[in-house]
Amino acid sequence: MRVQQSVTVNAARAAVWDFVTDPANYCDFLEGTTRWEVVSDEDRGLGARYRMLLKVGSAEVGGLIEVVEWSPPADMAWSSVTGIDQRGRWMLREASGDRTRLTFRFAYGVAGGGITAMIAERVAAPSLRRRLRRSLLNVKQAVEKSAMTGAINR
C-alpha cells in the first residue's frame, strides 16, 4: 500500500532539505511518531539508521530503518531493516519563485500476510493519508517560519 502527499513550501529547497533530513525534527512534525532515534554513528546520510515508531490504530508500528538513497537536496529514501516492511521517500523539487514542491511517499505492507494484511493496509490508509497531509503542513509551517525569522534577522 502506498500513500503520498505533496505541499508547496515558500522556502528554498536547501532549507526544506535541512529540515526533513534532520532526525531531531521527526517527533515534532511527523504526526503519530512516538520514537525516532538515531542508532548509527552518522545521524544522517546514506546508511544512517533510525529506530522509529509510529502510532497506527492500537499499536506503535515501526522498527529499524536505514537511509538507502541520499541525493541532496532532492531525494532521500529509507527502507526497513526490521519491523513492518516500509519505504519512505522525500522528493524536493524546485518550484517557481524560490519555492519548493515537497512530496512525501510512504509505502508499507506485510509480505506473506494474506488477506488480513491487505485489509489492514487498506483500513490504515485513510488515517495515514490524513496524518501525512498534516505532517507536510507542519513542515511547511516550521520551515516558512524559520525562513521568515532568518530574513528579519538579516
Partner: protein, 326 residues
C-alpha cells in the same frame, strides 16, 4: 487465545515445595500424574478408558515445551489480524510499554480477563511485537487446554508454551520476556461483579520464578476484558464434581452468558466477545531483591505487587465512563 496460567504453574511449584520434593523429581511426578489420570479415566469411562487414555496421552505429548516452536516470520505475517482485532474491535490501548526493559529477560505479570478468548492478551501481544519487533523472544504461558485446542499449534508459533515453572524458567534462561497471568483460569472467569478486582487466588509461583531467575517483574494491568460477556460463576464445584481438576488441571467450569451460545458452560469453544475497549497500563519494573532484601518474604511481596496492581486497576476503572465504550 493465548492465556498464560502461571497460577497453575505456581500451584504445581508450591506442591513440590510443600511436599519437600526435589524439583528434579518433576519427570517422575508427571508420570504419577498421568497414571492418576488413567485410573480416574478407568473409573469414569469404563470400557472407553483405553481409547480416551490414548487421546489424553497424545494431547499430553503436545504440551511438551519447545521454545523453538516460536516462529518470528509467522508472527510478523499474522500481526495484521491481531492489529485489526485490537484496533477495530477492542480499540486497544497499551500505555507506557517503553517501561519494559529494552532487552534481557523479564517477567511480565498481568491480571487476566475475558474468559477463554482473552482480549487483553491479543492487545498486549500485538503491542509487544510491534514495539520491540518480532525478533525479540517473547513467550506466553497458557493453560494446557488452550494448547491442546485447535488453535494450539498457531499459539505455539506465537511463542505460547504450557504453563509450568519449568517452561517459564527455560524461557527466562533464553533471555525471553515471559508473560504470565498468575490468576489464570480462576481470574479469567471471575464473575462480572468482580470485574475490577485483581484476583491471583493466592498464587505466588510468579514471585519464586522471578527470584530464582533473578529477573525484574513488570506488572501489566488491563481493564475491559471482563465486559466482553456476562460472567456468572467460576463453576469450581462443578469442575470438582466432574473431576476436571484432576483430568485436565481445570479448577473451574465457568458459566457465562455470551454470544452465540447465550448460556455458555465451560467456554470450551470460546465465544464472540463483545467489543469492549481494552486499556492496558504497563507499570514500572519491580526488582524484588532491591525492594525486599536478599531474603524475600513471599507474602509481603505478594501483597505489595497485587496491591500496586489493584491500585492501578482502580485508577483505570475510574477512567471508564460506560461499559464496553470505555
Amino acid at each position: 487465545m493465548a492465556e498464560s496460567r502461571a497460577g497453575t504453574a505456581a500451584q504445581a511449584h508450591n506442591g513440590h515445595r510443600s511436599n519437600g520434593r526435589d524439583p528434579r523429581e518433576g519427570i517422575s511426578s508427571q508420570a504419577e500424574d498421568r497414571s492418576g489420570v488413567r485410573s480416574i479415566l478407568r473409573r469414569v469411562a469404563g470400557p472407553f478408558a483405553g481409547p480416551i487414555g490414548r487421546i489424553a496421552d497424545e494431547l499430553q505429548s503436545r504440551l511438551s515445551a519447545d521454545l523453538d516452536d516460536r516462529d518470528p516470520d509467522y508472527i510478523r505475517e499474522n500481526l495484521s489480524l491481531a492489529w485489526l482485532l485490537s484496533s477495530i474491535w477492542f480499540r486497544g490501548e497499551v500505555r507506557d510499554i517503553g517501561r519494559i526493559p529494552d532487552k534481557g529477560p523479564v517477567l511480565l505479570v498481568g491480571n487476566h480477563s475475558g474468559g477463554n478468548l482473552t482480549p487483553d492478551t491479543i492487545v498486549f501481544t500485538l503491542a509487544f511485537y510491534t514495539y520491540f519487533g518480532v525478533e525479540r523472544r517473547f513467550h506466553q504461558l497458557a493453560h494446557n487446554l488452550v494448547l491442546t485446542s485447535p488453535v494450539g499449534p498457531m499459539l505455539r508459533r506465537y511463542g505460547t508454551v504450557a504453563a509450568s515453572h519449568e517452561n517459564a524458567r527455560k524461557a527466562l534462561e533464553a533471555d525471553a520476556a515471559v508473560l504470565v497471568y498468575p490468576g489464570g483460569d480462576w481470574e479469567v472467569h471471575r464473575p462480572s461483579w468482580q470485574t475490577h478486582k485483581v484476583d491471583f487466588n493466592g498464587r505466588k509461583g510468579f514471585l519464586r520464578l522471578a527470584l530464582e531467575a533473578n529477573v525484574p517483574i513488570v506488572p501489566i494491568v488491563s481493564v475491559g476484558g471482563q465486559e466482553t460477556a456476562l460472567f456468572l460463576s467460576h463453576g469450581q464445584r462443578l469442575s470438582k464434581f466432574l473431576a476436571l481438576d484432576k483430568l485436565f488441571r481445570l479448577k473451574v467450569l465457568p458459566v457465562s452468558i455470551s454470544l452465540p451460545w447465550i448460556v455458555n458452560i465451560g467456554d470450551f469453544f470460546g465465544h464472540l466477545p463483545l467489543p469492549a475497549k481494552i486499556t492496558s497500563q504497563v507499570m514500572e519494573p519491580i526488582d524484588l531483591h532491591e525492594r525486599f532484601g536478599s531474603d524475600v518474604d513471599l507474602d509481603a511481596a505478594y501483597t505489595y505487587v497485587t496491591g500496586l496492581m489493584q491500585d492501578q486497576l482502580d485508577s483505570l476503572a475510574a477512567e471508564r465512563r460506560l461499559p464496553l465504550i470505555g
